[in-house]
C-alpha cells in the first residue's frame, strides 16, 4: 500500500467519524430521554446520562387506556404479516409464469405491467379511497392489506432471479410428469429463497412504516397502525417528551431486530434492484 492510499484512508476515517456524530447523537439523546422521569426530561443543564434511571415511561406507554399502543402494535404486525405473505405468494406465482412458462403475449403483458411502475402513487390516492369507501372497507384491515398487492415491483425482482435458475432442473421433473404447480412449489421456490427473503423484508418494512394510506383509511383509535397512532399520540400526550420518546424507541425495535438479522439481504436487495431497475 502506498503513502497516498494511507492518507486517503485517514482522511476518510476522520470525515466518517464527524458525520457519524450527527447520526449517533440524536439516537442516544432519544434513548436517554426515554429513560428519564418526565420531570427531568427538560432540565438545565442537560444530562446525557439520566440522574434517575427509570423504565416508567415504557411501562406507562403499555398501560395507558386512552392510547392503545399494544393494539397498534398488533394491528401493524398483523397487517404487515398477512400483506407480506400474500405478496410473496402472488408475486412468486406471477414471476414463475413470466419467467418459466411459455404463452402467447407473455412478454408484452410483462412489460406493460412493469410500465405501470411509472404511474405516480399520488394519482391513485383519491380514487383508491373512493373505491375503498364504496366497498365499505374504511376502517377495516382489508383496506390496509389488499390494495398494496397490486404492486408489480416484486414480480420484477423475483423474475430477475427465477430466470437465472438452470432449466435442466425443471426439465428433468417435467419428463417425470411433474405438473407446473409442482415444479413451482417444490423446485423453483426452494431455490429462490434469497430473493424471496429480500422481497419479504422490503414488503414488510414498507408496510410496517407506511403512514399516509393508513392515516386516510383508518378512523377509530383501535384500528390505527403504529406510525399513525404515534402521530396522533403526539397531540394527545400534549408533548410529554419522555413518554413520546419511549413510544418512539418501542416502535423502532421490530425493524431494528429485522435489520440486525438480515442486513446482508437488505444491502444486496437495494443494490440489485437499484442498479438493474
Amino acid at each position: 500500500m502506498n503513502n497516498e492510499d494511507k492518507v486517503s484512508k485517514r482522511i476518510s476515517l476522520v470525515f466518517l467519524c464527524v458525520m457519524a456524530l450527527f447520526w449517533i447523537l440524536p439516537l442516544l439523546w432519544v434513548i436517554s430521554t426515554s429513560l428519564k422521569p418526565e420531570s427531568q426530561a427538560i432540565s438545565w443543564p442537560i444530562r446525557w446520562i439520566p440522574e434517575t434511571l427509570t423504565f416508567e415511561n415504557y411501562a406507562d406507554v403499555f398501560m395507558r387506556q386512552d392510547v392503545p399502543v399494544m393494539r397498534w402494535f398488533f394491528n401493524s404486525f398483523f397487517v404487515a404479516t398477512v400483506h407480506t405473505l400474500l405478496m410473496l405468494l402472488f408475486n412468486s406465482m406471477s414471476a414463475y409464469a413470466f419467467s418459466r412458462l411459455r404463452f402467447r403475449g407473455r412478454d408484452v403483458l410483462f412489460w406493460s405491467l412493469m410500465g405501470t411502475m411509472m404511474i405516480p402513487p399520488v394519482m391513485n390516492l383519491v380514487p383508491l379511497y373512493g373505491l375503498i369507501s364504496t366497498l365499505g372497507w374504511v376502517n377495516n384491515y382489508a383496506a390496509l392489506i389488499f390494495p398494496g398487492l397490486a404492486s408489480v415491483f416484486g414480480i420484477f425482482l423475483l423474475r430477475q432471479f427465477f430466470i437465472g435458475i438452470p432449466a435442466e432442473l425443471e426439465e428433468a421433473a417435467r419428463i417425470d410428469g411433474a405438473s407446473a404447480f409442482y415444479i413451482y412449489w417444490k423446485i423453483i421456490l426452494p431455490l429462490a429463497k434469497p430473493s424471496l427473503i429480500v422481497l419479504a423484508l422490503f414488503t414488510f418494512m414498507a408496510n410496517w412504516n407506511d403512514y399516509l394510506w393508513p392515516l386516510i383509511v383508518t378512523t377509530s383509535a383501535d384500528m390505527r397502525t403504529l406510525p399513525v397512532g404515534l402521530a396522533i399520540m403526539q397531540g394527545q400526550f400534549n408533548i410529554q417528551f419522555a413518554k413520546l420518546m419511549a413510544a418512539t424507541v418501542l416502535s423502532a425495535i421490530p425493524v431494528i431486530i429485522l435489520f440486525v438479522f438480515a442486513q446482508k439481504f437488505i444491502v444486496k436487495g437495494i443494490a440489485l434492484t437499484g442498479i438493474k431497475g
Partner: protein, 308 residues
C-alpha cells in the same frame, strides 16, 4: 386449441387445454388485485377530477372547472393555495435534492476507501432508513424544540438566542431538509457503494501510472464510472422529494402560515379532512402533480435506455 373428435386421444386434448390455462392460473391472483387496485383507480382518478364529489353522495359533472380553479382561474381561492403549495414543494425539492445526493456520495467514497470500522459506518448511516417517517419526525421535534431542545441548548451555551426551528422561515426549511437527510441518505449511499464496487481497479492503476492525483482520479475515473447509479439516484431522489408530506404535516403543520404546506399535504387537506371533502379538486391536483412526476420518470427511462 385442437380438440380431438373422440376420447381416443385424451392426453393431447388435456395437455392443450391445461397448458393454455396454467399460465392464467399463475398470473391470475396478482392480476385481479392489479386490475382492481391499480388499473381501475388510475382511470377513475381522471373521472373524479371532472366532477364535484364528497366521496359519499352523487357526483356532479363540472367539466374542467377543478382544473381551472387551480391552474388559471386567478380569482379562485384554490388558485392561490395550489400555487403556494406548488412553491413549497419546489423549494423543498431544490433545497433537499443536492445534499441528498452529495452527502451519501461522499460517505460512500469514504467508506469505499476501506477505513477501519467501514461496516459499522455503513450500518449506522443506513439505520434511520428503517424507521417510519413518524418516528423520525418525532425525534427531530424533540431535538429542535425551541425551549427544551438539545440543539437550542448548545446554541444557548454559545451565547446565541434560541432559534425557532419549527415555527419561523427560513428555519422551518432547514429543519425539514435536515430531518429528511438524516432519515433517507442510507439507500443512496448503498447504491453509490454498489456502483463504486463495479469500477474496475485497473482504471485507478492506469490513472496512477499517468500521474493523476486523488482529486483527478475522482473526476476522471470515479465520477464517469458512477454515471449509471448517479442518474438513477438523481431521479429517484427528485421523485421522493416531490412526494414529501409527513415531515411538514407533523413538524411544522404546514406553517408558518402556508409556507411549508406542500402539494401532497394540500391534497390531503382538501380531499380527506374537514366536513366537506373535495374529492374532485383533490383528484385534479393529483393529476397535475402526477403528470409532473411522470415526465421525470420518462426522462429517466430515456436516459437509461440510451445508456444501453
Amino acid at each position: 386449441m385442437a380438440i380431438t373428435k373422440t376420447g381416443d386421444q385424451p392426453p393431447v386434448y388435456k395437455r392443450n387445454w391445461k397448458e393454455k390455462l396454467t399460465p392464467l392460473l399463475f398470473i391470475g391472483p396478482h392480476l385481479i388485485f392489479f386490475l382492481i387496485f391499480l388499473a381501475y383507480p388510475t382511470i377513475y382518478g381522471f373521472i373524479i377530477s371532472f366532477h364535484n364529489w364528497n366521496f359519499f353522495g352523487d357526483m356532479s359533472f363540472v367539466g374542467l372547472q377543478n382544473y381551472a380553479n387551480i391552474l388559471w382561474n386567478t380569482d379562485s381561492l384554490f388558485f392561490e393555495y395550489f400555487w403556494s403549495a406548488f412553491r413549497a414543494t419546489f423549494i423543498f425539492v431544490i433545497l433537499s435534492v443536492p445534499p441528498l445526493i452529495l452527502i451519501p456520495l461522499f460517505i460512500a467514497i469514504a467508506i469505499n476507501a476501506r477505513p477501519p470500522g467501514q461496516n459499522f459506518f455503513r450500518a449506522l448511516f443506513y439505520a434511520p432508513s428503517l424507521l417510519s417517517v413518524v418516528t423520525v419526525v418525532l425525534i427531530w421535534i424533540w431535538l429542535l424544540d425551541t425551549n427544551a431542545g438539545l440543539v437550542n441548548y448548545y446554541i444557548g451555551t454559545l451565547g446565541l438566542d434560541a432559534i425557532p426551528w419549527l415555527t419561523r422561515t427560513p428555519w422551518v426549511w432547514i429543519s425539514l431538509v435536515v430531518m429528511t437527510i438524516w432519515w433517507t441518505i442510507g439507500t443512496n449511499m448503498i447504491l453509490f457503494l454498489a456502483g463504486l464496487g463495479e469500477i474496475p481497479d485497473h482504471l485507478y492503476e492506469a490513472a496512477k501510472i499517468d500521474g493523476a492525483n486523488k482529486i483527478q482520479q475522482f473526476f476522471h475515473v470515479t465520477l464517469p464510472g458512477l454515471k449509471g447509479p448517479l442518474a438513477f439516484v438523481v431521479v429517484m431522489t427528485t421523485l421522493a422529494s416531490f412526494n414529501v408530506m409527513a415531515q411538514p404535516q407533523l413538524a411544522t403543520g404546514g406553517g408558518p402560515g402556508y409556507e411549508t404546506r406542500v402539494l401532497i399535504l394540500y391534497i390531503y387537506d382538501t380531499a380527506f379532512t374537514g366536513g366537506n371533502p373535495r374529492a374532485g379538486l383533490g383528484a385534479a391536483m393529483s393529476v397535475v402533480l402526477g403528470m409532473i412526476l411522470l415526465s421525470i420518470s420518462l426522462i429517466q427511462f430515456k436516459l437509461m435506455t440510451r445508456e444501453k
